[in-house]
Symmetry: C2
Subunit: 184 residues, 2 copies
């Protein structure tokens, strides 16, 4: 599909190298052909961001599902999967969280919402098992989302290395789970 090709360019050569005309050339169609599918370049980017949110949600859900018995390990697996996604698709993650001048489209908004719902699901599984204190799960999830997104940003912008990012995940989860409610 056209989006797959666009995603590959995004991954390998960054967003600046993503050109509708080049995409059309490589697909063997005329330069105006993509317009039937995406009215704009930004419509293409929106579609990519939307797919990115769906894929990211899938990946962290699967990662967490592989650790059904240990809440802390499940959280760590999900967070780690998030950062690994970021390392694999840095330009795509940038796109997903880009600060555009106009508000994000409804489709992107929904996809982002689904990612957050997935995270909430992972979090509340632990709360249900009593591994975390009750309280507002939504807020905690938001905090986790922000932290993991921030760690990803630091890694993809080359401020810290991937191992440092993993260490940060450890720190974050430790303080999440064992934070105000328990001593060590």
């Amino acid at each position: 599909m056209l989006l797959d090709q666009a995603e590959a360019v995004l991954r390998e050569r960054g967003i600046d190298a993503l050109s509708l005309r080049e995409l059309a050339r490589e697909a063997g169609v005329s330069h105006g052909a993509p317009r039937s599918h995406f009215i704009d370049r930004s419509a293409l980017l929106d579609a990519l961001a939307e797919r990115g949110f769906v894929r990211l949600a899938d990946e962290i859900r699967e990662a967490a599902a592989r650790e059904p018995d240990d809440y802390a390990r499940a959280l760590h697996a999900a967070a780690s999967a998030y950062v690994r996604f970021a390392v694999r698709e840095p330009a795509l993650l940038d796109l997903m969280f880009a600060a555009k001048v106009d508000a994000p489209s409804q489709a992107v908004r929904n996809a982002a919402e689904r990612l957050f719902d997935t995270m909430t699901g992972i979090m509340s599984a632990g709360v249900g098992a009593g591994a975390d204190d009750a309280g507002d799960v939504g807020r905690l999830t938001l905090l986790l989302a922000a932290t993991v997104q921030g760690i990803s940003a630091l890694v993809t912008s080359r401020r810290i290395t991937m191992p440092q990012g993993e260490a940060l995940i450890d720190d974050a989860i430790t303080r999440f789970l064992l934070g105000p409610s328990t001593r060590r």
Copy 2:
């Protein structure tokens, strides 16, 4: 200066609207003139990012300095200043933490390092006063940096509102920094 003008465009119309030729036009010079100052468009963007890091570091330092007696309040002030910077200059923050294909330039790297040093300074002031547990201040600072950056990303990408961001700052400081060593 040329950079001031570029920053204004970045703030008001986003990165896609930032064109060397338009900058030259508005400055009343020929389209090739900016080349004397910046070899590339990306060199211009690098210079903007560098300035952004310096300004952000200044702002959080000043914010923290306004609360010299209360560690928690100083931390909150610094984090809040960070997010406010993000809201004021969303495109610039994107630029500063963009995942470019090639490694960031030395100048940008240094400026980012200075921001982190500033954060470390704010953090260690509290550690010195015994308001936080000792341990690895660098790691905690990194965690704070990541969290605040993540909160900023969520706010600027319109996933959450500014008040929600403020609430997250509260949560983060309570859980991450005052968490393990204190009860509530």
